[in-house]
């Protein structure tokens, strides 16, 4: 019994000191001089633009990655197409790869001397490259959540639907999709969190120009470097609040997934 509560104490102390103490302190620092400084930051044009850009990137990247993720999971599990094994391995790469390397390889591809340099639209230091970077880093989550569920549910119900005359699309919509919906939802939450929170790859490709290509994460960094700590803390608290909402949604979705 003593050993057990000892272990419990160690777990709490580790998580508390490592995670909760620093995050709590940021909330304290942000509001220690009252709400007025925070209100000023929140209504400043640079902050609003960064917020808008962050949300825009997430709003485009998340649906694209969701559709791609479900299709990719179907391709990997249901159709043994040639090359699927390679796709399956590559999908995980953004999880293991440094975001700096992701951003840098985009710079090499679209920058001076790159293979896709000189496109009619400006890609680097502009919205397109930031979107590409966001899609790249948030790619694996839906696939990774959906693949094990697809494996587990098997093909019996889908085959039954097909023998009853349902088309491939109807089978997907009426049989497969309801079975994987919690996994998709969980993947979407993770994708959104990553898309909103991406920093390294965006720092490389965006150039972080205030009011133009600055997202909330690069805004945090730049404000901090320029000793505008209130701005940095306010944006951090905003992002941390979004992160906590994510956690809340995740813990609501997880039990459903486990008792399925």
């Amino acid at each position: 019994m003593i050993a057990r509560s000892g272990l419990r104490l160690v777990a709490f102390a580790y998580v508390g000191l490592l995670l909760l103490a620093p995050v709590g302190l940021v909330f304290y620092r942000t509001f220690e001089h009252g709400l007025e400084p925070v209100r000023q930051v929140v209504s400043s044009p640079d902050f609003l633009h960064a917020l808008k850009l962050t949300l825009e990137l997430a709003l485009i990247a998340v649906p694209l990655n969701t559709v791609f993720g479900v299709l990719c999971a179907l391709a990997v599990v249901r159709h043994r197409l040639p090359g699927v094994g390679i796709v399956n391995a590559l999908v995980d790469l953004p999880l293991a790869l440094s975001p700096i390397v992701v951003g840098f390889s985009l710079v090499l591809l679209y920058g001076p001397g790159g293979w896709l340099h000189g496109l009619p639209i400006q890609v680097l230091f502009a919205f397109p490259s930031m979107l590409l970077a966001t899609i790249f880093v948030s790619l694996p989550f839906v696939v990774r959540e959906v693949v094990p569920v697809l494996r587990e549910i098997g093909t019996d119900q889908e085959e039954a639907a097909a023998t009853l005359g349902a088309s491939a699309f109807t089978t997907f919509r009426r049989v497969t999709l309801p079975a994987i919906r919690w996994a998709v939802a969980y993947g979407v939450v993770l994708t959104t969190a990553r898309a909103i929170g991406e920093y390294g790859a965006l720092a490389v490709v965006s150039g972080s120009i205030a009011g133009r290509t600055q997202t909330l994460t690069t805004y945090v960094d730049q404000s901090y470097q320029e000793f505008q700590t209130v701005n940095a803390y306010t944006a951090s608290v905003m992002l941390a609040t979004l992160a906590m909402l994510t956690l809340l949604v995740m813990s609501v979705l997880r039990p459903k997934e486990e008792t399925r």
Binding site: L7, L18, A243
Partner: protein
């Protein structure tokens, strides 16, 4: 997705192998890579122990606040890395009462511990949930002590999950940028890790130096993924 990576590989080799080796053997870059690997090895050890311990507490123990602890574990996944870096710098930074960790290797280590915390917990937890307790009870009834039960029964069953968890943590520790960039203070040869070095080279317009180290990181990431794949096949070899 492949095109940018191919561009990276092409660029790193564009000057031939000679230039590549020259860029790759830059002492500052080598020091950064060595530090990164050393820190990542430490991260792996701490996470193997603490991650397993936390997963154990979450699965086998029951206490008020368990739901909260379970949800909080995912915080490093949900929290943007730059915010994680700023929070750590607030606690350990120059304006704080305990500022001994800022701009030191220990500070970078703590930042990496922060972002890698969930990996082992989240790979070990489901396996521990599924683990049949009858085996442990049988061992205990045959006179095995608690330590022996853990060492001979529980640990071997958890080992594949622990290994794949620490592999993910290792990959993350090698590539992490946002959380460490603020707390490292970018001191070359002292606290500069690989990703920070690459970012610095990029800002200094030294594309070749950045490309060489990037390619090394890419190769490491691939190796880790292949390792995890092999591990998965090895651990499910009895299922088929």
């Amino acid at each position: 997705m492949l095109l940018p990576l191919a561009a990276l590989a092409a660029r790193a080799r564009s000057g031939g192998w000679h230039d590549f080796w020259q860029a790759a053997s830059n002492p500052q870059g080598t020091a950064a890579l060595k530090l990164t690997l050393g820190l990542a090895c430490g991260i792996v050890l701490v996470n193997a122990v603490m991650g397993t311990l936390i997963a154990w507490v979450l699965v086998r123990d029951d206490f008020p606040g368990k739901v909260v602890l379970n949800a909080v574990i995912d915080l490093p996944f949900a929290l943007p890395t730059i915010v994680a870096g700023l929070t750590l710098l607030t606690l350990y930074g120059p304006n704080s009462k305990i500022h001994s960790l800022a701009f030191t290797r220990a500070g970078v280590f703590v930042a990496l511990l922060f972002v890698t915390l969930p990996f082992v917990v989240r790979t070990v937890q489901p396996v521990l949930l599924e683990l049949d307790r009858e085996m442990e009870e049988a061992a205990a009834s045959l006179g095995a002590g608690k330590v022996a039960v853990f060492r001979r029964i529980v640990f071997p069953n958890l080992l594949p999950a622990i290994l794949s968890g620490i592999a993910l943590a290792f990959a993350r520790a090698i590539g992490e940028f946002g959380a460490v960039v603020l707390i490292s203070g970018n001191l070359p040869f002292k606290t500069e890790v690989a990703s920070v070095f690459i970012f610095g080279q990029l800002n200094a317009d030294n594309t070749n130096g950045a490309a060489a180290l990037s390619l090394e990181l890419l190769a490491l990431s691939f190796a880790v993924l292949l390792g995890i794949g092999a591990l998965r096949r090895w651990s499910t070899r009895h299922d088929r």
